[in-house]
Symmetry: C2
């Protein structure tokens, strides 16, 4: 993985930033500390003023990279899904059997994150936590339709379509491949959240993983 992704830049929609944060040290510090700060105080608590202080600079420097914190959230979540997508594509590429392929994909989506040293400024473990807690907020807005039209969610949607294709290959007669694909991703995040905060309404825990639940689930649904 490390070797494969070593020099790959995760391509995020370029209207999500004013200046590419990957293009400078300061930009990378913004990304780095936004993840750390959101983990500490939550997305609602984040302000560009605090983020400015965290990077040893001030508000105005952050505003030169991102219009507002909503765009920053879109940037971070897009990056995350892009990163997951690469792993999924590379790690399932050589698998011939469709069922095995989908299982692997589910494992990749659900597995505990390990840090990827290719991106030194990004703490993937915390970024995953952030996606679990904040991703929904990136689209549950009044502006979702415009922003969707702009293409801000295309990486996420593409990931859903990759799962959909696998599902269709396994069972072409199954009537809801797209919904099942989007449900897999949504459920992987939701059950993870429940495990951390509403233990009484999930069976997922340290012994039973979200992947176990989803693998069982998908196997039964797609059985002919």
């Amino acid at each position: 993985m490390k070797q494969l992704l070593g020099n790959l830049k995760i391509a995020v929609h370029d209207k999500l930033y004013l200046k590419d944060p990957e293009s400078s040290l300061l930009g990378k510090k913004i990304i780095e500390h936004s993840i750390l700060l959101i983990d500490e105080i939550g997305f609602e608590g984040l302000t560009f003023k605090k983020l400015g202080t965290a990077i040893g600079s001030n508000e105005s420097s952050v505003y030169r990279y991102f219009e507002n914190k909503h765009k920053l959230l879109l940037y971070l979540t897009s990056w995350y899904w892009g990163w997951i997508e690469y792993q999924l594509v590379f790690e399932t590429h050589s698998i011939g059997d469709a069922s095995e392929k989908l299982d692997k994909a589910i494992e990749i989506i659900c597995r505990p994150i390990v840090e990827d040293s290719s991106y030194a400024h990004i703490n993937e473990v915390l970024l995953n936590k952030m996606v679990i807690n904040e991703f929904s907020k990136s689209y549950l807005t009044k502006e979702v339709d415009e922003e969707n039209k702009e293409g801000y969610f295309s990486i996420y949607k593409r990931l859903v379509h990759r799962l959909e294709e696998m599902i269709q290959t396994i069972n072409a007669e199954y009537k809801y491949p797209t919904s099942l694909a989007s449900t897999i991703i949504e459920t992987s995040l939701h059950q993870q959240f429940l495990k951390d905060h509403f233990k009484s309404i999930t069976n997922c825990n340290n012994k039973i993983s979200t992947a176990d639940f989803l693998l069982n689930f998908v196997a039964k649904i797609l059985k002919k």
Copy 2:
């Protein structure tokens, strides 16, 4: 339904308000217009100042009923789940067959909302839209654990447990009844949202309902 619920007050956790909005005309107007206003401008756009104007009063009056808009959101979503729960309990009560019972429950959770004249000040159609768009935001916060301990989410969790019980009755060997129950509710909201905003990643539309997807889904998962 109307007759049954006619005089029933949906019981919402009493720490969610400072003064019970059901106890006065002004309180009911706050509830009524908060739903309308959130539909218009979204939860992020809502302020107590705007809400005050909407009810023909001002900010300070609203603050006498609710501490802040987060508590108002918790109140509204609790009320919604309580209302759904009553329907579910009454409408499935007399059904003997467990599978039939769960199917009915899913239909109730997913069905297009019709206004319930028992609660004149609540527009259930818009409230349902609000729950789809805003419910996640009520728990995706830094305070979720404390608030959960306080019992602010108990109606929602109780609803999940009602589904869980049905699932267990149908198939006692199924290993993930709680996760399946929480997934059903989450998916019903999520697929509805996708249908409205991300059509390309769902199969649900005017012809195929979210209930169709979930019914098919649950039947396969619980088949012995």
